[in-house]
Structures are given as C-alpha cells and as structure tokens.
C-alpha cells in the first residue's frame, strides 16, 4: 500500500490568507478568535479617542478588565485608559507568517509583545469558519485524486496505489497534489510512503528551520528505504506526548536512530504503548490504518467579517472570493454547482438563509455571482452583514443533446441569469412562462419557471430522409418548422383579453339585457346580446368570484365579452376576433 500525506503547515494562518489573499507575504499573526476580536474592539476605541493611525493594546494586569492604550506611529504617545467589557484581555499569538517569523514574532507571545517587536504586525483572530473551509478544501485535494481520503487535523491522507496508471511516478503524484492544494489556496507539504505514519513523517521532514517547517516540500520514501529515511529524523517529528518527549530528552535520545536502537521490550516497559508505537515508527515500521471518510454532501465556504457590510458591492466583493474558492474545489472533483445556499449572518439578528435556484449545474463564477447578487438585491438584509457562507450542492455536469436541424438553445446557466435579471426588474415571480390554471376564472394564469422549448421532433420516418428531401428542394430546417397537424383551434374565435378588464357603465333594458355600454375608451350601442352565462366559485377563498357573462355585438362592429360582478359593476373582459 502506498499512502500520500498532504500536510498544511500553520493551517489557521493559511486559512486566513486563503480567505484574504492580500495578506500573503505580509507580517501576520493569528490570535485566539474571541480575544482577537476584543483586541480589535479596544484598538478601535483607542483610535476613536486618540486618532492615531496605528495603535497597540496592552493589557493591564492580565485580565483585570482595564487596558492601557498607547498610541504610536509618529505621534506622541498619549496614554489612554479604556475599560473593556469583559476580563481576559491577554491574547496570545497562535501562529505567525514567514515575514513575521523572520522579524522575530513567535507563537505564544502576547499581542502587545508581538506588536512591540513589529508595530505594523497584522493581528487577525482565528476564524473557525475559514479554518473549517480550509480543512474541507484539503479533503477535496485528496478527493480529486483518490476516493479514499482521511482528513486529520491539518493533514489529508489518501491511498494512491491505483494512480500508477495515470502518473508515471510517485513524484508526479506529489507534484500534482501540491499543485492542486495551491489551486485551492493552500500551501502544502506532500509526503509519500508505505504507511500513514511514515507518509506523515515524509511530509513534515526537511525544510525545517528552528523546528518550523518552511514552505512546500515533496518527499517520496521509496519502498524498502523507510528505516534509512526515518533514522536521521528528530524524535520530535514522531509527535510524542510531552511526558514521553521529556523522558526521551532526559535519556539523551534526539534522533529516531537512537530510539530504534533501544530494545523494544525495555522501551515498552518504561514508556508504555506510546513508547512501543514510537519505537516501531522510529524503525520505519508503521501499521496505522487509513480511516477513509465519506465525502461531504455539500461544499461550504464562509467568512466572518470584522466590520459589518451594508453595501451590495462590498458584499459582491466578498462573494466573489467565496465563489472562486468554492468553484475551484468543485472543479477539482469534476463537479458543478447544482444549487446554492447563501447564509448571511446579520448583525444582532441571527442568520438570513436564502436558496438561490439554478437552472442547471454550472461552474461559472460570473453567473453564480450575478444570481446571488440579484437575489440579495431583490430582498436586501435588514441590517449589516457580519458573516457570509456559501453552500454549494454539487452535481455531475451532464451534456445536453443538440439537434442537427435546430439551433442550439440558450445555455441553461445564462438563461437563469437572464431570468434573474428580469426578476430583479419586474419582481419575484413575475418572470416565467404563463400556465393556465384549473379554475373557472378565465383570466387566471400562473407563472411557471421558463424552460426553453424542446427541440422540434425529428422529421417523419418511413424511408423519408433529410438528404432525400434536399434532393427534392426542401431544406431540412423548413421541414422541421412545418406543423405536424392542423391545430383544433383553427376556425375558433380568439378572445383578446384586457388586463385588467375595462370597467364600463351598462344600460339595461326592461328585460335585464344590456342595451348600451360606455367607458373611458369605448362607447357603443348593443346590437345583439347573449347571456347571462353564470360562473361562480372559490367561495372558500377570500370573496370567491361570481360573474354573469354576456357576449354582446356592439354597434362599432366589435364582439365584446363583458361581465357583471355581484356589486353590479360591469367590465369588458375582452373582444373576439
């Protein structure tokens, strides 16, 4: 069995950079989520007070609730005391970028200490949504290569035994995995070995500076070379527990070679099961199983915003980034977005969840962005948006059969976009194909989603071929346009309906038959009248309807259809032609 490990160093940090690519290359520190946000609030408070462009929040007394804020950045330092809303203002750095690390900022420092080292340090709170999305993206990297993938922390393991037919060497596989990870916004280290534990070691080994992995790396441990590969690695890479690590340090064991040279029974006696496991690993032996997880039914990308968004354009900017990442993940798995759920976290008001219907599965960012944008524009949120999550429901892309004799119809996704634009103009539910409703109210129609007409049926069979018709001088397209049968409606009167019906005044004779009608647009004597034709119904709905219809031949030569409602009001519903 050959296992590949795709490991993402500093996943929390990479998740931030993935969501905001502008942070790449800049000195950045990730702090605890809640504390980080509180630090930000205090910084804002100070900025409002002092007006300094850059500020440092320094906790006073380790959680006493009072912070001393000092402005810096070219202006005289003005001590300001800000009262925090809650205790625990001491926030510590959890991860730092390469630039910040190079400047001396280390994980474990407080924000104040870190900023003291690098005043322009970007401090961002860890975002659970972004981290979860980055982890899921890491799983997608594996799924784009193999069906059996296990994601564990910041590592994804996949079985690559069957990929030999697609790739010439395992190094190519490793290169492909790294490139795929890069495509979804992650910088990954790839290791390939005979087992899960060894693949992990291969991924994390090498390019380490002060115990910190540097950038991407690829390492393939050839079969039979496992013991030799592991021998020179530090035992810290085996990830011993602190107690075991301390014991090993005390024994002077720093390399796997030293650990592997110890008698396993003695190690097991002193360090227990963990010691035995580490010993086996240090000898290049690992039987840790791969626990494949089923792929998730939906693909989710989200972001928590530091400041509330009120403008649609700002939201569109955020949405574009989310969609790019979402579609990149879909593309990696050869899937398309069949439906989209937009979840907006509204300031102080919970979530606003919206389903964005799609006419057909698509992977076009512009189309999806336009649809989501129109959807939000149609019904803007009631308050500022402080979090956005997009959930894609994936589906396989299916090709559609085109017709030889008919032009191709509009692309389904483009059509959906057009319909959405029209809906934004005329209102929701007002765009579509009219559909008759099963009711006695003749004017009633329903709007069904528009579907482009199906391709015309193929020409009749029976030996008649398109080529034969062409010989007879009939173009194939002409044949396809010919009606197959005469419609039953031929020879019938058509009613041209006024929407809404025109209200008129009607003069009745003694026999309660209309004799004249007059309205704003028409006035005529009734020559012949037929009726009343009575229609009643829907009494269970509000009001229902009750009408007495008349067909009248007016003196202007027109045959009108009129009705009288229970209130005695007359309306001209239309005219026949």
């Amino acid at each position: 069995m050959r296992i590949a490990c795709v490991a993402v160093p500093e996943l929390e940090l990479q998740a931030l950079v993935r969501a905001d690519p502008e942070l790449a290359g800049r000195p950045l520190a990730v702090v605890d989520g809640r504390a980080g946000r509180r630090t930000q609030e205090v910084t804002e408070l100070m900025m409002a007070t002092v007006g300094a462009p850059v500020a440092v929040a320094r906790a006073g007394g380790g959680g006493g609730g009072v912070a001393t804020v000092t402005s810096v950045g070219g202006r005289a330092a003005v001590p300001v005391v800000a009262r925090a809303a809650a205790p625990g203002l001491v926030t510590r750095v959890r991860a730092v970028s390469e630039a910040a690390y190079a400047a001396g900022v280390r994980a474990g420092l407080t924000v104040a200490q870190a900023r003291a080292i690098w005043p322009s340090l970007e401090v961002r709170p860890a975002d659970a949504v972004q981290i979860a999305a980055a982890r899921a993206a890491l799983g997608d990297v594996g799924l784009s290569f193999a069906p059996k993938v296990e994601v564990e922390g910041a590592e994804a393991f996949l079985e690559i035994g069957d990929l030999g037919r697609l790739f010439q060497s395992e190094r190519e596989i490793a290169l492909g995995l790294a490139a795929r990870a890069r495509a979804v916004g992650l910088s990954a280290r790839v290791g390939i070995a005979a087992s899960k534990g060894l693949a992990r070691l291969a991924a994390w080994a090498g390019d380490v500076e002060d115990g910190r992995p540097r950038g991407e790396s690829l390492r393939v441990v050839a079969p039979g070379q496992e013991a030799a590969f592991v021998a020179d690695l530090p035992v810290a890479l085996l990830r011993p527990s602190p107690a075991v690590h301390e014991a090993l340090e005390r024994w002077g064991i720093r390399r796997c070679r030293d650990l592997g040279a110890l008698p396993i029974k003695e190690v097991a006696l002193r360090l227990g099961n963990e010691g035995e496991r580490l010993h086996r690993l240090a000898r290049g032996q690992s039987d840790e199983p791969l626990r494949a997880q089923p792929p998730e039914a939906t693909i989710e990308e989200g972001v928590s915003l530091d400041f509330a968004i009120y403008e649609l354009e700002s939201l569109a900017f955020v949405l574009r980034g989310l969609l790019d990442r979402l579609l990149e993940r879909l593309q990696g798995r050869s899937l398309a977005c069949a439906a989209l759920t937009l979840r907006l976290q509204i300031e102080h008001r919970g979530h606003d969840v919206r389903e964005v219907p799609l006419a057909a599965p698509t992977r076009e960012t512009a189309t999806l962005l336009e649809l989501v944008r129109l959807h939000v524009a149609r019904r803007p949120p009631e308050a500022g948006i402080v979090g956005v999550t997009l959930v894609a429901h994936p589906a396989r892309v299916r090709g559609s059969q085109l017709d030889l004799f008919c032009p191709a119809g509009p692309a389904p996704d483009r059509l959906a976009q057009t319909v959405a634009r029209l809906e934004a103009l005329v209102g929701e539910g007002a765009v579509g194909a009219p559909r008759p409703v099963d009711t006695y109210r003749d004017e009633a129609i329903a709007i069904a989603p528009y579907r482009p007409p199906a391709p015309s049926p193929l020409p009749p069979s029976g030996g008649e071929t398109a080529r034969g018709r062409e010989r007879e001088g009939v173009a194939a397209t002409d044949v396809a346009r010919q009606p197959l049968a005469r419609g039953p409606e031929e020879g019938c009167l058509a009613l041209r309906r006024f929407r809404p019906a025109l209200e008129v005044e009607v003069l009745m004779d003694g026999g309660r038959v209309p004799r004249a009608l007059s309205g704003s647009d028409l006035s005529a004597q009734v020559v012949v009248a037929a009726g009343p034709y009575r229609v009643r119904g829907e009494w269970w709905a509000a009001g229902g309807f009750a009408r007495d219809y008349w067909d009248v031949h007016a003196s202007d030569g027109t045959l009108y259809r009129m009705f009288c409602d229970p209130a005695g009001r007359w309306f001209v519903e239309g005219y026949y032609d």
Binding site: D438, T439, Y533, R534, V535, R536, G537, W539, D548, D551
Partner: protein, 350 residues
C-alpha cells in the same frame, strides 16, 4: 299558476353527488308548490322509501282523512294492473326513477311509469349491483349492459339526459350525426311514446348550444321536450355542501378540485315560476313535465300484495262471500244452531 315538476333530482343517496336528504327535498318541493317530484338517484333506489314516507307524511299533514282511508280500490286494473294515482290524490306525488350508468360512462334517466316498470328497474339495478361486486369483496363502478336494458324497458319512461347522456356527449364533441344516432337508438329501445328530449338551462353557453341542437333533433324525430334542472340539492345555499362532497368524490381539496366542480350554483330546486322564466321560449317543455308526472302513476303505495281477480258472477266480493258461507253453513250445521249463528256473526265482522 305555473306548473312544473322536477323530473331529475339527486338526493344524498347518490353517493357524494347529492347534498340533500329525500325528506329535505320533499319539504322544499312542497314549499315551492310542486305537485310531484321524481327522485332519480344514481344506480339505486336507496332513498325511495324515505322519499315516499316523507311524501306520505306531507299528505297526512295536508289531508289526514285521505291517508286514514286508503284510496286504493281492489280491482282497478288501469295502467297495467297497478293503482292509478293522479296528481290530485297526493299533495306531492313521489315519482320513482333512477339514473342508470351505461357502458362508456353514459348516464340514462328512466322513470317508473307503472308497476311493471318498477319490477324491471328493480331487476336492472339488482343485476348491475351484482355485476359491480368485484373480487375479494371490492366493488367496481356499476355498468349496465345495453342488452340487459333492452330486455327490461317495459313500464319505463326515458329522458335523453344532459351532458352526461349519450346525446349530450355526442353534441359536446360536435358530433351531430352521433347525437341523432343515439337518439334513434333510444327511441328504438323504449318506443317513440316513451322518450322525452330533455332540456336543461344552467346559464351555460355550451349548454345553450347543445339545447339548440336538441330542439332541432326533437323536431326532426317528433319527440316531446321536457325541462329539468338536474337537481343536486334542495336549496341554493346547499351548493357549498355539494362542492365539498364533489371534492370528497375526487379525493381532492377545494384548492385542487378546479373545474371538476359545477361552474354555477344553479342545481337547486327552482320555483316553477323561475323555471318558466328560463324556458319561456319553449313552454311545451314545462307543460310536458306535468304530463310525465301524470303519466308516472306508480308509487311505493302500490307495493302491497294484490289479490287475484275472482269470478263472482256479477256479485260484489262481499255478497259472493256471504252467499257461499250460508250455503256451506246450511250444509254442515243443518238444522241451524247457535254455532252457525256465530259464524254468520263472524262473517259480518269480516
């Protein structure tokens, strides 16, 4: 005063297609001044006893002595041996009939004219119901074979029907020749004197077009016209109940039912004057309703056992019985004894 008799009326015994109980129909008809009413439930007589009892109670309320003293006269053999009931003998004469489901979903309305007709119609309905018993105790829609109908038409009067009749169906499909053929088949089956061309008016444009064709067909065939209102409920306000029953029949909600409901709410028992206004251009159709009601003499009062005629040589039955009794008594109890005297006394009591 305008005379009109409703000859097509469903009660609640037309399952889910009638919204009024027979008693309510009788009461409403009496309020409107009807002198007769036909109960024509679909494929059954189930409502007939209650219909008859309601009419009888009405008669008792109007003229108690008429009910206490039966108007039957043994030996009145008019109209096929049954009792001849004129409209005058009932305040509201209960006429019997039924709507028969024929092959192809076509409905045919028949009214019982005389006792033989009642027997034939009972036989038809019984057979239809037996045939409708499906496997495993289930039921299928009853369908009356035309051959069976042809063998049992004596004593029955047929009305051509509305949209659900064979002629109405053909006319709705624009098949005038088919309608004419269906009418001729009906005449051949029942006889020219027993078929009436039925006109209905519910303020429906299509129905009016069919009526024009029916008028033409009736004139060509020389058949009488008769007006009906195809009643499904007694009072106008009962249309809601009928709509709900229609929904139940189709197993749908009111929002789903759509045009399966009747388009207007006109299927109630209308006052004779209202019907006369509707049919003012064909008054003979109104008059014919009374003629048909007069003709349909049979009521459930005639269901009792009828003794056979006995030759009495010009004597009345009573005289004949007394004479025979005395002759036999003299022969057996000669000389005359007190026991014989008691027999004579008993005879007098009889």
């Amino acid at each position: 005063m305008t005379e009109y008799v409703e000859l097509r009326c469903h009660s609640a015994f037309s399952f889910l297609d009638g919204a009024s109980q027979p008693e309510d129909l009788v009461e409403r008809a009496a309020e409107l001044g009807y002198r007769a009413l036909a109960l024509t439930d679909r494929d059954g007589f189930y409502g007939a006893p209650r219909f008859y009892q309601a009419a009888k109670r009405l008669a008792a309320a109007r003229a108690p002595e008429a009910v206490a003293r039966p108007s039957k006269k043994i030996g009145d053999a008019a109209a096929g041996g049954g009792e001849q009931e004129s409209l005058k003998s009932w305040p509201l004469k209960p006429i019997l009939g039924a709507e028969l489901s024929l092959e192809g979903g076509v409905q045919l309305l028949v009214l019982v004219e005389r006792r033989e007709g009642y027997r034939n119609l009972s036989r038809l309905l019984t057979q239809v119901r037996l045939d409708a018993a499906g496997p495993r105790g289930g039921k299928v829609a009853p369908v009356l074979p035309r051959a069976l109908l042809a063998a049992n038409v004596e004593g029955l009067v047929a009305l051509t029907g509305g949209l659900e009749g064979a002629i109405g169906r053909a006319l709705a499909a624009g098949d005038g020749a088919g309608a004419e053929l269906a009418l001729s088949e009906l005449v051949e089956l029942f006889g020219a004197g027993n078929v009436y061309v039925e006109l209905q008016r519910h303020f429906d444009a299509d129905e009016e077009l069919r009526n024009r064709e029916l008028l033409r067909l009736a004139a060509r065939a020389g058949l009488p016209l008769v007006a009906t209102n195809d009643v499904r409920y007694g009072r106008p306000e009962d249309h809601r109940l009928h709509d709900v029953l229609t929904c139940a029949r189709h197993q749908m909600t009111v929002d789903e039912i759509g045009r399966r409901l009747l388009p207007s709410h006109e299927r109630y028992l209308k006052a004779p004057a209202e019907m006369a206004a509707l049919f003012r251009d064909v008054p003979e159709a109104m008059r014919t309703t009374c003629a048909v009601a007069e003709r349909c003499a049979f009521t459930l009062a005639d269901l009792g056992y009828q003794f056979p005629d006995y030759p009495t040589d010009g004597e009345t039955v009573q005289e004949h019985l007394e004479r025979l009794t005395w002759e036999c008594a003299r022969e057996r109890f000669r000389p005359r004894t007190s026991k014989g005297g008691r027999k004579v006394f008993c005879l007098a009591r009889i």
